[in-house]
Subunit: 266 residues, 2 copies
């Protein structure tokens, strides 16, 4: 069922969240699509468990997406994670990333991807400066967008926090964990390139982190992931490495990550 | 309450399990001390959940002990793990290790320990051959003892398998996983020295493994643990690394390990 668009003013000037559609999933989860900010705005999806009410507002997990894959392609995996979190009484939100879906490409992204492919097809290590050009502009744009989304979402009566971030481009999660004081837990997927600057930023992270690593991830540097894990300054940090490639995360690893969030957000 | 000693003949000649004491813990778990083999025999403790009966025999976890620490010193931690497993309907058993408690020292063990201390106090890496002398004689003796215990325990009507091994000296767990076909899952603690031969043996392990690593374990070589994990030939293998020193395994890591066993033994 489609609801009439509804706008919620947010405490951050210029950050308006406008619901465009809503439907109830069979497990009682409410799925609402929205756009954030002025037209055309940034598309997003908010899932709230049936238990989320103004008198018992829900915690929230920001669901990151891999860079470049749009919300539509990611939807099946995102809604699965949303349903899983809803069982624990936790709301979830996904946002179309910069350069993803119908959003305009990030400046320099095409060139950075071409340089990445050249290095990979030549069988050479990917130069640090290519990783920087590939990832850092995305981080710089995605993080304030997530913060604006948080401003708007925490103003909803049924969303109360605390807030966690789960998955997506790991450098985005690390930056968010450093700059966003409303974040209390980060579940990260070590499945994307790690700029050197991100390892340095990780030393300033103090919230609990749970890092998933696929041990045989084809396009991922295992040592870089271990170095990043080593760098986190958090008093509670867990690395869970599982056999398999990038898309082979076993179901029990998803369960363990869900328990990590339930422990810190409930 | 103490029960009269009772002997159970086992299918392996010469391996007799004699119960010496029994008491019921407050959660209904039955704790029985026993000796294995001819007098004086090897002391051990068997814990069975109230749900274990001849018509519904329980799976079994072999609880390893760190080398050198006797059953008495390990008892509080062992009984904690036994109670945890019993909640999942799983029986557990601990055995006094070779050279531990009142058992005679292993030949060469004192010299190997002295050589280890020399290397450590000189701030030098521990030579491979010292690790070999320290660990391999223990493996060679402990593994057949565990197998004899298994023969006797699986002959009990209330114990049915399948069988897992949990913790203890990691080289013992790896050898057991290679040579003992009744073992279906290994939960290992990467907190002891790893002989080079153990890494080679790990390639022949095919049962699911769950490896706990304390990221900042003072007396442990992190890279050796990662190399060992990499070597396992299992189609399901998980490494869980947590912040902290040797004895700082967080409670949630114990819960995750318990779920690993429940998944594979139930």
């Amino acid at each position: 069922m489609n609801a009439a668009p509804r706008s919620t003013p947010s405490p951050t000037p210029g950050t308006t969240l406008t619901f465009t559609t809503e439907r109830q999933l069979d497990d009682g989860v409410l799925e609402r699509r929205f756009t954030l900010g002025d037209a055309p705005g940034i598309p997003g999806i908010l899932w709230t468990p049936a238990t989320a009410t103004p008198s018992a507002p829900a915690p929230l997990i920001l669901l990151g997406s891999p860079g470049g894959l749009g919300l539509d392609r990611m939807y099946p995996r995102l809604v699965g994670r949303a349903r899983h979190a809803a069982v624990d009484g936790i709301a979830t939100v996904a946002l179309e990333g910069p350069g993803s879906g119908d959003r305009p490409p990030l400046p320099g992204a095409d060139q950075a991807r071409a340089d990445l492919r050249s290095a990979l097809s030549a069988g050479e290590p990917v130069p640090d400066e290519v990783v920087d050009r590939l990832v850092l502009p995305l981080v710089d744009q995605a993080v304030p967008e997530w913060q604006a989304a948080l401003d708007a979402l925490l103003a909803l009566p049924e969303i109360g926090g605390p807030v966690g971030v789960s998955g997506g481009v790991i450098a985005v999660g690390v930056r968010l964990a450093v700059v966003e004081p409303r974040l209390v837990a980060a579940g990260l997927f070590a499945g994307s390139y790690v700029p050197r600057a991100t390892v340095e930023e990780a030393r300033r992270v103090t919230i609990p982190v749970h890092v998933l690593l696929q041990w045989d991830d084809e396009g991922n540097d295992r040592q870089a992931a271990l170095d990043l894990f080593d760098a986190f300054g958090s008093a509670e940090k867990t690395l869970q490495a599982n056999l398999g490639g990038h898309t082979g995360v076993p179901a029990f690893a998803g369960d363990d990550a869900a328990r990590f969030f339930a422990r810190h957000l409930r």
